[in-house]
């Protein structure tokens, strides 16, 4: 017996899951991702995409609800039943769709939906006939749904390590290009962990990773408290040493990384670094000061073009001759960078000044416009003599120390690392300072901040200038990395990506920005098949985060401090008077 409300919720979730499967099939993701093996030859990314919708639908439909101020968890029976309903509906809808496609003669559907190939249909029917395949879809959906529901009813101390274990195994499988490389350089055998034929984890490797990744957090949950207490009791000087040594360890790993993973993957790291800088800069504007800037690409372009013009570059004239821009300096790269930062900060002020009075949506719209203006300007014939117009600039002088250039991925990585370290240092210091407090007060309540003596004009301008100063470094690196610039590199997509990085990771959180960049820039860089679906994945990721975890993956500490017991105790009456949850009744019934 489950309540009608729960049933309805499960049904809706299941149908959405089914639609998700059909959508993923229609855009071609399932077929394309079939080639990326995760574990042995039986789990690949395509199949995972087929399996996740029923699982997630069931999991989300049976989420604990808040009733009369109290969290109500479902008991096992209703949760599994509801999950079953979700799963059957998701699988059933997918099966119906497959059957529907089979109604038409060969190729009829494919004329409209290019992705609906025979291969896709064979994947979705598990290589069996239509009837068996459709049945299998429903059955598999049901099983996954039931699992999703059951997972929700596990006690927290089991669910947490299990979730970490699953996520780690998934990450190990996705990092199939990096980890074997690492092991190879360390002279370790990786054949037991990663399958040489399929590329993904071997079944044994997957089990080992899963067990270890589950056991460690479980162990930490029981022992971690003690360790944390002991660390807290250390004298400040000792704790400082501990922190410094942790940082040093991280630094050593980061410095050795490109040697371990090779040139191709170092390029991905460089890409991550460029977006990390952009994310850090935007984080100051959006995360710290709460000013939604959708035109951040303007500073990326500023940094790139200024670096080119300050260090030396050529352009192609309309007659096809290679010429020097009308304004070009041939400064040393390290002399040019501070200059670029200064000019970019000034441009940040210029852009900030007219939008001081705007808030929220209006600010977003205007800054969106500024971003486009930047792109149009650098492409315009008006500035053609400086920026090279649509053809852009080329032969940008490489930055170098002695005779070592930075254009190659591995040296470039070190340049990126240095810039990122600097930007992170500045961001951390700013957050915990008078300036950072003023920004965060302004973000939380502009009027109250002003009444407390904070000049919002001044601090908004400061945020724009600081954001521009940090963000322009990404452009600088970009110019060094590719050596030539065209306006096509500075589209609105760059702004959107930077914002996605900040929002996904957690606004105002530096760790969040790092993790966000790794997920949104690093993963597509490692898995080529993502490239085509990049924006789709960004959109889906953002919507999911906004609904399920609006504070971001790794939120700012300020936003997730735990409530102390005493204050919670004031709400004691809620607990005493909350509706009794019976074993069979479930949450949805009342």
């Amino acid at each position: 017996m489950i309540g009608s409300k729960l049933l309805r919720r499960a049904a809706i979730a299941g149908l959405i899951g089914g639609i998700a499967i059909i959508y993923l099939a229609l855009v071609g993701m399932i077929e394309k991702f079939e080639a990326r093996h995760l574990i042995g030859d039986w789990l690949n990314l395509g199949r995972l995409m087929l399996a996740l919708p029923p699982l997630l639908a069931a999991y989300l439909a049976t989420r604990p609800r808040v009733q009369a101020g109290r969290v109500v968890r479902l008991s096992r029976g209703p949760a599994i039943t509801a999950g079953l309903v979700s799963g059957v509906l998701a699988g059933g809808l997918a099966a119906l769709w497959v059957a529907f496609v089979h109604l038409f003669p060969d190729g009829a559907v494919r004329n409209i939906f290019v992705a609906v190939s025979p291969t896709l249909l064979s994947i979705m029917t598990f290589g069996k006939s239509l009837l068996v395949g459709a049945l299998l879809l429903v059955v598999v959906g049901a099983v996954l749904g039931a699992l999703g529901g059951a997972y929700q009813t596990l006690p927290e101390r089991l669910r947490r390590p299990l979730s970490i274990g699953l996520a780690t195994t998934f990450m190990f499988a996705l990092l199939q290009r990096i980890i074997p490389q690492l092991l190879f350089y360390l002279n370790l055998d990786s054949t037991w962990l990663y399958s040489t034929t399929f590329g993904g984890l071997t079944p044994i490797g997957a089990v080992v990773v899963f067990v270890v990744a589950t056991a460690l957090p479980a162990l930490w949950a029981s022992r971690g408290q003690m360790v944390r207490q002991r660390v807290a009791q250390l004298p400040p000087a000792r704790r400082r040493t501990l922190n410094v040594s942790r940082l040093l360890l991280l630094a050593v790993v980061l410095v050795l990384l490109p040697r371990l993973i090779g040139s191709t993957l170092s390029q991905v790291l460089g890409q991550i670094g460029i977006y990390l800088l952009m994310g850090l800069g935007l984080n100051i504007v959006v995360g710290y000061a709460g000013l939604l800037d959708l035109g951040y690409v303007a500073f990326f372009a500023t940094g790139a073009y200024l670096t080119a013009l300050f260090t030396g570059a050529h352009l192609v004239t309309s007659l096809g001759a290679v010429a020097s821009p009308d304004f070009v300096l041939h400064l040393n790269f390290y002399a040019a960078v501070p200059l670029v930062i200064l000019v970019a900060a000034f441009i940040g002020l210029l852009i900030g000044a007219p939008v001081l009075r705007l808030r929220g949506d209006y600010l977003a719209i205007v800054t969106l416009g500024f971003g486009e203006i930047a792109r149009v300007l650098v492409a315009s014939s008006w500035l053609q003599k400086f920026t090279g117009g649509p053809q852009g600039l080329r032969d940008i002088t490489d930055a170098h120390i002695g005779s070592v250039g930075f254009r190659d991925p591995q040296p470039f990585y070190y340049l990126v690392l240095a810039f990122c370290a600097l930007a992170i240092f500045v961001s951390v210091r700013l957050a915990d300072s008078r300036v950072g407090r003023a920004w965060s007060a302004m973000r939380e309540d502009e009027l109250a901040a002003e009444a407390m003596g904070i000049s919002t004009v001044r601090y908004k301008l400061l945020a724009f200038a600081m954001g521009a100063a940090v963000g322009c470094l990404s452009g600088t690196l970009f110019a060094v990395q590719i050596g030539s610039l065209t306006p096509d590199s500075f589209t609105i997509v760059v702004s959107i990506t930077a914002l996605a990085v900040v929002v996904l990771g957690g606004m105002g959180s530096i760790r969040g920005v790092v993790v966000g960049t790794m997920l949104l820039i690093g993963l597509p860089g490692l898995l080529d098949e993502f490239e085509e679906y990049r924006l789709l994945v960004y959109g889906a990721a953002l919507i999911t985060v906004m609904i399920l975890r609006p504070q971001g993956l790794i939120p700012n500490v300020r936003r997730m401090r735990e409530l102390q017991e005493e204050e919670v105790a004031q709400d004691q009456w809620l607990k005493e008077e909350a509706p009794a949850v019976t074993a069979a009744g479930g949450g949805g019934g009342s």
Binding site: R434, A441, E444, A449
Partner: protein, 262 residues
């Protein structure tokens, strides 16, 4: 006693509504002045105009020798007027201590460079900001101290949020503090406590206090002087006994004819 705040012929209208309609008001240094009046009498608007949130349509405000008309709220705050809001306006995601530390903003100087390089004088300043903030919090005894310092303001109980707002205002080291309904939503015991605290605020911290209040226990308990507003005009000015027996005040609250009938 010298006059700290001098308001002359202050006018503020919104469209056709005269929210403040030619108010003259003197606040003496060291006094506790209550502003009373029915809803919509213009009390909060008066505060908002004085603190620079709204520009007035006419009149003058002189505080401690400075003309306030035309100044921005943050400048008014730097001159030494702090306020609380009728609807509590804390920084909900910042901790209790951070909220109070924000109050110190106008009394400190360090900027970008100091923040990034953490120079010795910046560190000393941060230290003093923390001490001043703790000092302001300590005014409320254990209510905002110790472990509560690190809680986000949104986790506080309603009464504690009002207290924190006062502490934040105190941390600006003001000469004059404007309290907008400090006991709204408090229970009788908490109101009682607030009455003694408002008195202490003047006696121990030497502040001049203007308080908007509906709770007559507080008005009676703390005020040296009471001013009544109605329809943006001052209708009475005097001791609590004088104002509370004023015919026009009673009429403003209860309607015309109330005096005869009562």
């Amino acid at each position: 006693m010298s006059t700290l705040l001098e308001i002359r012929g202050l006018v503020k209208h919104f469209g056709g509504l005269n929210a403040v309609d030619g108010v003259d008001l003197d606040v003496e240094a060291g006094e506790i002045l209550s502003v009373i009046g029915p809803n919509g009498a213009g009390k909060t608007t008066l505060f908002n105009v004085v603190t620079g949130l709204y520009p007035p349509n006419g009149g003058s405000i002189v505080f401690d020798g400075h003309h306030l008309v035309g100044l921005k709220p943050n400048q008014v705050c730097s001159l030494g007027i702090a306020r609380t809001f009728q609807t509590v306006r804390l920084f909900p995601n910042m901790t209790v201590l951070e909220n109070a530390m924000v109050g110190q903003h106008s009394r400190t100087r360090s900027g970008l460079l100091g923040a990034v390089l953490r120079l010795p004088h910046t560190r000393a300043e941060e230290q003093s900001v923390r001490e001043q903030a703790r000092d302001a919090l300590a005014f409320f005894g254990s209510r905002l101290a110790s472990f509560r310092e690190d809680q986000p303001a949104m986790a506080l109980s309603y009464a504690n949020r009002r207290r924190l707002e006062i502490a934040r205002a105190m941390a600006t080291i003001p000469k004059l503090i404007l309290l907008d309904e400090p006991t709204a939503g408090m229970n009788p015991k908490e109101t009682e406590e607030m009455i003694s605290l408002v008195g202490k605020l003047r006696d121990e911290r030497g502040l001049t206090i203007v308080v908007i209040e509906h709770d007559m226990r507080l008005v009676k308990g703390v005020s040296d002087r009471v001013v009544a507003l109605d329809y943006g005009r001052k209708i009475a000015d005097g001791t609590f006994a004088e104002v509370s027996s004023d015919v026009r005040v009673i009429e403003a609250y209860l309607g015309k004819g109330a005096v005869k009938a009562g």
